[in-house]
Amino acid sequence: MIALDPSFLAVQALSGLSSASSLFITACGLTIVFGVTRIVNFAHGSLYMIGAYTAATLIPRLLEFSFGPTAFWAGILASALIVGVIGVIIEVVLLRRIYGAPELFQLLATFGVVLVVQDLVVQVFGPEDILGPRAPGLRAPVDILGRRFPSYELALIAAGPIVLGLVWLLLRRTRFGVLVRAATQDRDMVASLGVNQALLFTGTLFLGAFLAGLGGALQIPRVSANTGMDLAIIAEAFVVTVVGGMGSVPGAFLAALIIGQLQAFGILIFPKSTLVVVFLLMAVVLAIRPYGLFGRAEVIGGTHAVGIASRKPQPGRPFILLFTVAALAGFPLIADAYLLKVATEILIFALFAFSLQLLIGVGGLVSFGHAAFFGLGAYGAALAVKWFGTSMETALPLGLALAALGAGLIGAFVVRLSGIYLAMMTLAAAQILYAVAFQWVDVTGGDNGIVGVWPSRWASGPVPYYLLTAALTLVAVLLLKRIIDAPFGYALRAARDSEARAEAIGLAIRRHRWLAFIAAGAAAGLAGGLYAFSRGSVDPSLLGISTSVDALTMLLLGGIQTVIGPLVGAGALHALRDWIMPLTPLWRLFLGLSIIAMVLLFPRGLVGTVRDRWEARA
């Protein structure tokens, strides 16, 4: 067996070390930025990507000018510096305005930056992947126990400890470093000593972005710069910072080492999915140490000042309901097939977003991986059709059940956590499922997904399927609404408003939150199943970060404080998408800027803002 060969083991260990190095350099920047600013910067992966693109573009020019190691390494450094400056711009323009915002808004705003950067990178560097030059002087492989091993990888292995050493010196031996460490511990006290936090934060962002850029630039001889790098690295960097303890540089180093080795050898244990091993590690570490290896027990985030509040029942609700039913039922009379398809999708996503509202708006549980349940529902239904040949009538409930089961499992883990750790853990859970769907090709079809998932004959065709979707969505939304108004929903809100008070009146907080995950997961699973049959196929992107962010965006667009907000948000986002997407190739730029603008200008969402105006006038 190949695994027993010592030379193979040595080479695997070395490549584990080199990926640990790269990962550490990037994650180190993320953890320092988090430590000081308390913002989990989604855009850190984007800075990494910019570093790679910049280096891959810049260094060949430098090498033309003067070929040699000096030009190469100077180019790496220059790229990192450029990225550092970009980090400063992001801090001054955006982050500075959201330091006090709830963590949900911070995560979404920095994700807005991710979207903006994705389009800008294509505009600036072109749509093709760019393979960088190999490093002069490090082109020949070296011999390790009879196996050839790239010498550049050895240089990378050295780079990690070198960066750790330099960062250590910076943090220990300079005034800036001392202040960064002090601010990581106690920001208010640093201000009381007369230190301008704004400058300190800007400096920190420069350092963090520089390290992200360096991490990216160092990759160019091994992988070509491509547009998928940002989300790939950010997921891993999150794991490293969370496992190491958020804000801890040595923790990040240790976590990167463990994860590098797990990835290198995980392939022997779990050949289909190395990512699963990595995320399982995170799950285990957080289950044992809720604040990571070297993290400090502290409340991070937990600003749940946003959410649904009690309102007087509106008069005439039965009429509104009747009108809605009539409008939904009558829509096929006036709409063509295309409009019906759009309407079907809007309804599905409305249900998806509404199920998330139960967790976030009602429970204050900022789930960043809601796509997990949507995707489980979709895959559950599709797998039932593909492998067991079941009909739609059986497959939909199976999808729902799978999603509820997944939510029960994931929920059992995450209800122990709060704030940013809960967001990270749900994101990780979704990424595990994404990895499984992507890598377990025999069962899930991998990247291509599963095709041929069609509804039963009675429900096929735009009009019947639209009506089926409308009926199921309406029933599910009404049920959820009922739950929100019932004692169960109130108990969730009670735990969100004041955990201490909720406990003191005898509420079992974790139990309620766990049940909320199951209910929300089941509803999202139904939406996922409906989506699978509407499209006839499923693919891993349904489980991806973008799908989770779609749900969050709809929620935010509609308004977290309102019950019908997510429904309006789903409609608005889809309408925007259908209207803007054909007009411009810069759809993501537009969406990203909209998300940022919403966080900064309309944190109460469309429905919330309109309602506030209305009430202010009354």
């Binding site: 202040l179 002090a182 007369g194 230190v195 936090q197």
Partner: protein, 238 residues
């Protein structure tokens, strides 16, 4: 002879969330004097100091330091005017060494004054000099208290707000604290001191302000307060 008023606060109100804690306090501080803010636990002493530093939401009809308005200034700008703050719980950076803690407080002195340096501070607090490389989390409460004061002095302030310096520390160190405050006074640093320990406050202060339930009950010389047994027992206990 005592010059212009250094710190002048009028009608200070402070809130924690919607709970009001201070109900219109006024106080002032002249250069080089030591004023004790006394009162029972929970009377609002700590909040007064925090409100002056801009650390809790507060309003005042007038708030100046060295003639500069303090209202709406961020905390770091208030500190840079020359107002130092030593919090009740000391808030040492426990991951940092003694020398690094001092570094966080360092700011250049105004021209014509002999600046505080680590060396000078180690003479004032000899214990600290013996543990320059030690981390904050390995220090006793009294040592942390000295470090907290020394750290603030590194900013060469004109006045220090000192919150409960004698709380929870050994009597010997309380004695050293008193000497340190006298040394600061000798350097021309004014001190506004919140204190529950009567003996300590009486031994070092020129004036006293008595706070009760967020309102000022008495302002006057320490001697006056000492003489007025009824006032003392009425507001401070017994």
């Amino acid at each position: 002879m005592r010059g212009d008023v250094l710190l002048d606060i009028r009608n200070l109100r402070a809130f924690y969330g919607r709970a009001q804690v201070l109900f219109g306090l006024s106080l002032h501080l002249y250069p080089g004097e030591v004023v004790a803010l006394v009162g029972r636990n929970g009377a609002g002493k700590t909040t007064t100091l925090k409100a002056i530093m801009g650390l809790v939401s507060a309003t005042a009809t007038h708030a100046t330091f060295k003639g500069h308005s303090l209202s709406k200034l961020p905390t770091y700008r208030i500190a840079r005017l020359g107002l130092g703050y030593v919090p009740e719980d000391r808030r040492i950076f426990t991951d940092l060494t003694v020398e690094e803690n001092l570094e966080t407080g360092r700011r250049t002195a105004e021209a014509g004054r002999s600046p505080w340096t680590p060396e000078r501070l180690f003479r004032l607090f000899p214990n600290l000099g013996e543990m320059r490389g030690r981390r904050g989390n390995q220090m006793s409460g009294g040592e942390q208290q000295m470090l907290s004061i020394a750290r603030t002095l590194m900013g060469n302030p004109d006045a220090i707000l000192l919150d409960e310096p004698s709380e929870g520390i050994a009597p010997v160190i309380v004695q050293m604290m008193a000497e340190a405050i006298r040394a600061m006074k000798a350097e021309g640093v004014a001190v506004l001191l919140s204190e529950q320990n009567w003996a300590f406050a009486a031994g070092i202060s020129d004036r006293a302000c008595v706070i009760e339930r967020g309102e000022m009950r008495f302002q006057g010389s320490m001697a006056e307060l000492m003489a007025d047994k009824a006032l003392r027992e009425g507001t401070l206990g017994g």
